[in-house]
Symmetry: C2
Subunit: 241 residues, 2 copies
DNA sequence: CGTACGCTTGACTTGGTTCAATCCTGGTGG
DNA sequence: CCACCAGGATTGAACCAAGTCAAGCGTACG
């Protein structure tokens, strides 16, 4: 580990202005190695809605951190059908699927206009070997993703349609929700089709269940704006056997 | 990166005798850094059948590489039900679930008498910063696990019971099978209950489907010894819509 | 040698899918 | 500015794959 005195004001300072700063890899770098870190930020990328960040088969060169917006990752099976593996928001890391074989295996696209930070993996690796907190944070982000994916297996294997959707709503409200603890509000950036695909259900089932939650007063919803009205009711239906 | 001349014959040489050597992290180290690597191998651990390697909540200190045998990893949900997240064999890496929060979240136990190599994570990290091939291999192993888990989501969300089981059998035969390409043979180290839990099915469904495959001549099975008789037949039923 | 547990098989039930029809809404062009 | 249209969302009805319940079989191990 080596200490590098900070000197450059740019572009690391711009990180501090970034809305995702506290969630990002670089947050651990506050005092030192700033210069080095500044060198690894190649550029910000703006994505339009439905624009792809990368596709299966593309050479792995960069990892990405989401600055704002929302992004879906999906795998394509050989027979052409696709499976959404996750929805991702500010602060989350993308691109490590390419690490295993040097080429990406996922298809990754924006659900709404979004911004990501593009980091050359070679440079990142240099920082990782020199600055332990960043290395820990990076590994921890990957590990967290593993844990999340695996808890998804439990969701799909053991929960009913109702439970899956309740869990999904609560998770989104935790990640995105604004407002006080009891009545959080957020916006669906993904379509019903995306939700259905992700949760392993038919669109009709998703729609019906969301309608029922609304009828029962658990949530209020108009178009894609959602408000969790009765958090406890939702939580209860997850635990109900 | 630094070159360390090999001098010690022990215990790295013992790695070369290990049946999992070519699959292991250390395989990239052939010519250099051997001394360093030898220091990170704390000890081999023998596990009896059903013996646990670690439990949720245990402090994260080590990662493990399987030398021989077979091991299942599972998550426990808050209501007590469990979900098997994977079956693992020689050469595979275990333990990174602890990286995110400093404590393990999985429960990991042997399905049969097994042997694992226990590596203190601190020491491993030292090697990673000094020896790039090993670092790459380590990251690649983690990335591969992410890809595997995510392809499992596709399996669970889009395949029928029959397709899931066919896929499972083919994957096992690829990993474990002995014999020529057409007619591979191996042994189930996991119970029908484990298979059912892993694939998100009822035991009865697993049993029925396996029986049908046997009746149709795709596989031959006696107890827990399985022989893939007609690989193509199994593969065909996965692609059948 | 017996018993308990894992496995198999059959009969019935059901949650969720599929098919089909209708409603909404946001974007487009006149 | 409004009418129109396409694709997303909702709702209803019928169906089916897989789950559940129940009973019996096999064999591994004490």
């Amino acid at each position: 580990m080596r200490n590098v005195k900070a000197s450059s004001k740019q572009p690391f300072d711009s990180c501090k202005l970034c809305s995702a700063y506290k969630l990002c890899l670089g947050y651990t770098l506050c005092a030192d190695v700033q210069k080095e870190f500044s060198s690894i930020i190649a550029r910000r990328v703006n994505l339009k809605q439905n624009q792809k960040l990368y596709m299966p088969g593309m050479r792995f060169q960069f990892v990405y951190i989401i600055q704002s917006g929302s992004i879906k990752t999906q795998v394509l099976s050989c027979d052409g059908s696709e499976q959404i593996t996750g929805f991702h928001f500010a602060g989350e890391l993308l691109g490590i699927d390419g690490l295993a074989n040097g080429a990406h295996v996922h298809s990754v696209e924006a659900l709404e206009p979004s911004r990501v930070c593009k980091i050359p993996f070679k440079s990142l690796k240099n920082v990782l070997t020199k600055h332990e907190p960043t290395c820990n944070r990076f590994l921890s982000m990957i590990s967290q993703q593993l844990i999340d994916d695996q808890s998804m297996l439990l969701t799909l294997n053991q929960l009913t349609a109702e439970q899956r959707i309740a869990k999904f709503l609560l998770k989104l409200s935790n990640k995105l929700g604004s407002g006080n603890g009891l009545s959080k509000e957020f916006r669906f950036s993904m379509s019903r089709y995306d939700i259905a695909n992700y949760l392993g259900l038919a669109v009709e089932t998703v729609s019906r269940t969301i309608s029922r939650f609304r009828r029962e007063g658990s949530i209020a919803i108009r178009q894609r704006r959602v408000r969790i009205v009765d958090r406890n009711k939702l939580a209860a239906c997850i635990n109900a056997s």
